[in-house]
């Protein structure tokens, strides 16, 4: 497994994603046990990116289902193309086909609008990566539906019968913990917590995602971010904010961080007035850049 992990780690690094042993082991077990993986963590730490890079590394399709409150089976699984069915009925009104034949035609696969989950089950070539993003935004009714789908990897459509997944997709669920997920869903998944990276890892991430960045600037950004995350902020900046900030500094041709530069670019990683005041206070006192 060590060699496998090393190769997966190398593939992830090639795609600009710096992993660690827990994530690699989790992905290895997703493939081996064919169980979904629930990835939890604060916003902006790279949970969604895991699924994207996994799909690239396996050279397979990524199918994404973005969850929201009110998401239901019609938007996640399938819906009939009613307009096309109506049109087909009108056009074949005077045909000589029997009623049973016409009814069979109306509920054929050409009238079925496949949504992400069914699309993942019906994938012919290779097992895709099914990303169910921010599952905590969906409501409990949708969670109950997911239990059934993720347990057996098959769906029953009353008009068509049971559709079993030809290739079991690799399912990655992400959650920002805006609400607690049910025990039943958690039991069906492997679990991984992804937190903010430490200074060393964040430096590697910056250099991997922004090859043009100066190493010393990357180190300064990572050090400062580590310090800022210890502050009592309302919205702690994640890796996404670090990358945005680094990108902004590169475009402004700044190669080092000083008081003026930080003050000009606070908006790249702070999205809240109170947080802005907190960091600005530390900056003015000189404690931030010590």
């Amino acid at each position: 497994m060590k060699e496998h992990n090393n190769s997966l780690e190398a593939i992830f690094e090639d795609h600009g994603y710096i992993t660690d042993q827990p994530i690699l082991t989790a992905l290895h077990l997703v493939k081996s046990l064919q169980k979904p993986l629930l990835v939890e963590g604060p916003a902006g730490v790279g949970k969604t990116e895991i699924a994207k890079v996994l799909a690239k590394s396996l050279n397979t399709k990524l199918i994404r289902l973005q969850c929201y409150e009110g998401l239901d089976v019609n938007n996640a699984l399938y819906e009939w193309n009613y307009a096309k069915q109506m049109l087909h009925i009108r056009l074949t009104e005077n045909s000589e086909a029997s009623l049973e034949k016409r009814e069979e035609d109306i509920f054929g696969k050409e009238f079925l609008l496949t949504r992400p989950i069914l699309e993942a089950f019906m994938e012919e070539e290779a097992p895709p990566v099914l990303l169910i993003d921010e599952v905590d935004r969906a409501d409990e009714a949708f969670e109950a539906f997911l239990l059934e789908a993720l347990a057996e990897f098959q769906i029953t459509i009353p008009e068509l019968g049971t559709i079993k997944a030809k290739h079991r997709p690799y399912v990655i669920l992400t959650s920002n913990r805006t609400r607690e997920l049910s025990d039943a869903l958690r039991r069906r998944c492997l679990y991984q917590w992804v937190s903010y990276p430490d200074f060393k890892k964040e430096t590697e991430i910056l250099q991997a995602r922004l090859p043009e960045i100066d190493k010393s600037l990357a180190i300064q950004i990572a050090k400062l971010m580590e310090r800022i995350r210890q502050m009592p902020l309302q919205k702690i900046p994640g890796v996404a904010e670090s990358l945005d900030w680094a990108q902004a500094l590169i475009s402004m041709h700044r190669s080092e961080l000083n008081k003026e530069t930080i003050q000009e670019t606070l908006g790249c990683f702070l999205k809240n007035q109170d947080d802005w005041d907190t960091v600005d206070k530390e900056l003015q006192q000189g404690t931030l850049l010590r």
Partner: protein, 396 residues
């Protein structure tokens, strides 16, 4: 190093131990745990640990418990003796449970087979006596006992069933009484006030274009979320019980509730409440340093905001039950209270010391928190919780 022939026994004991710690581990999870080991190098302790952790844990809190347990089971030098001890304790527990079940089954079968009314009434008396005995146990005062091995540093705290029905009514009153604002978005409802022509026409496509089933929408009220933070320090040990009883009642009335204990550390106990069986009362399993110790209110609330800040939203009502005697840093308390106040609909502080004649909230913790409190009260009984629901003022 564990001997290979003992590894399977050790793993099963480990799984059972985690299950005792309220992990969601059934037969399927145990089987997955064992299967996961087939795909890794089990001689690499790091991979061994990670594989089990990924399969057996289902939350971050469980990962922390898992890590402690893993060190104890697989990295401790006294493994053999501990294995023997744990095996003995778990076997004893199982035997006692089986004996209790057997007694219950015997009583039930005798009751069923009996036909004489006098015999029936005698059986009924016997059952009533047994039930009242159980009730007496349940109504035991607030106790804490050691769990298994003293090195565990876990204690159990049971919640009383006295006056629970009144407490449950109080919780229902709270959930129904809290009026948050109406949402702008209209939702589909049977008795809605607004006829939704778009949805009606959309639905009519399935019915051949005939709008037979009209769709109505109406405004909905925003649902309130409740967060209950209970001070479990030594000074609050006599007062925490009614609050935790109320917290349990709230978890039975609504899903949108989170319960935390804090003294020197913060601990989420919502799952322990929600996983309690229907006809039982929760018995909280908590670390020794989280119960009956010192108080760091500020640090605990600060770490609540940091770790669980995503639960603090504009439709949240926060209850804090504490006497305000804070031994920690005041800055943290001020910052945490300010943030909680800004982001929520109401902050209710329940201080039992307010019932004491002549008490003034002059302790620095209370003074710091007071500007951020919407309702400052001292409820200690079920009926007073019910009255509290009518006093809450929502800011948004």
């Amino acid at each position: 190093m564990i001997q290979s022939e003992k590894l399977s026994i050790h793993l099963l004991l480990f799984f059972r131990y985690l299950r005792e710690k309220k992990f969601l581990i059934g037969t399927k999870e145990m089987s997955d745990g064992l299967r996961a080991l087939e795909f890794i190098d089990i001689s690499d302790i790091q991979q061994f640990r990670l594989a089990l952790r990924i399969v057996l844990c289902s939350s971050r809190a469980e990962q922390e418990t898992f890590d402690h347990a893993f060190i104890k089971f697989f990295l401790n030098n006294n493994q053999d003796q501990q294995t023997e001890d744990l095996l003995h304790v778990l076997t004893e527990k199982k035997r006692k449970n089986e004996e209790t079940n057997e007694v219950n089954r015997t009583v039930e079968s005798k009751e069923k087979s009996s036909t004489s009314p006098s015999i029936n009434s005698a059986r009924q008396d016997q059952i009533t006596d047994e039930n009242s005995g159980k009730e007496q146990k349940k109504m035991a005062i607030w106790t804490a006992t050691n769990l298994m091995n003293k090195d565990e540093q876990d204690i159990q705290a049971s919640i009383s069933s006295a006056q629970f029905e009144t407490m449950e009514k109080a919780a229902k009153t709270f959930v129904q009484q809290i009026n948050l604002k109406r949402l702008r978005r209209y939702k589909v409802m049977k008795n809605g006030s607004k006829f939704d022509i778009r949805r009606t026409l959309r639905q009519s496509i399935q019915l051949g274009g005939y709008p037979i089933k009209p769709v109505w929408t109406g405004p909905t009220k925003e649902k309130a979320n409740f967060i209950l933070l209970c001070d479990s320090s030594r000074s609050m040990s006599a007062y925490a019980e009614p609050f935790l009883q109320f917290a349990y009642a709230m978890t039975k009335c609504t899903n949108n509730v989170e319960v935390f204990l804090f003294s020197t550390k913060l601990r989420r106990v919502t799952d322990q409440f929600k996983r309690t069986k229907q006809d039982e009362f929760p018995v909280l399993t908590i670390k020794r340093n989280e119960w009956g110790g010192g108080t760091c209110i500020g640090e605990s609330l600060y770490s609540f905001v940091q770790q669980y800040g995503m639960y603090v939203k504009k439709n949240t009502i926060v209850f804090i039950a504490s006497d305000g005697l804070d031994a920690g840093a005041i800055d943290h308390l001020q910052s945490a209270m300010k943030e909680i106040h800004q982001r929520t609909s109401a902050v209710i502080w329940l201080n039992p010391l307010l019932n004491i004649e002549g008490y003034e909230p002059i302790a620095r913790g209370m003074q710091t928190a007071l500007p951020y409190i919407d309702l400052f009260s001292a409820v200690t009984t079920a009926s007073s919780f019910q009255q509290l629901a009518h006093q809450v003022q929502i800011r948004r």
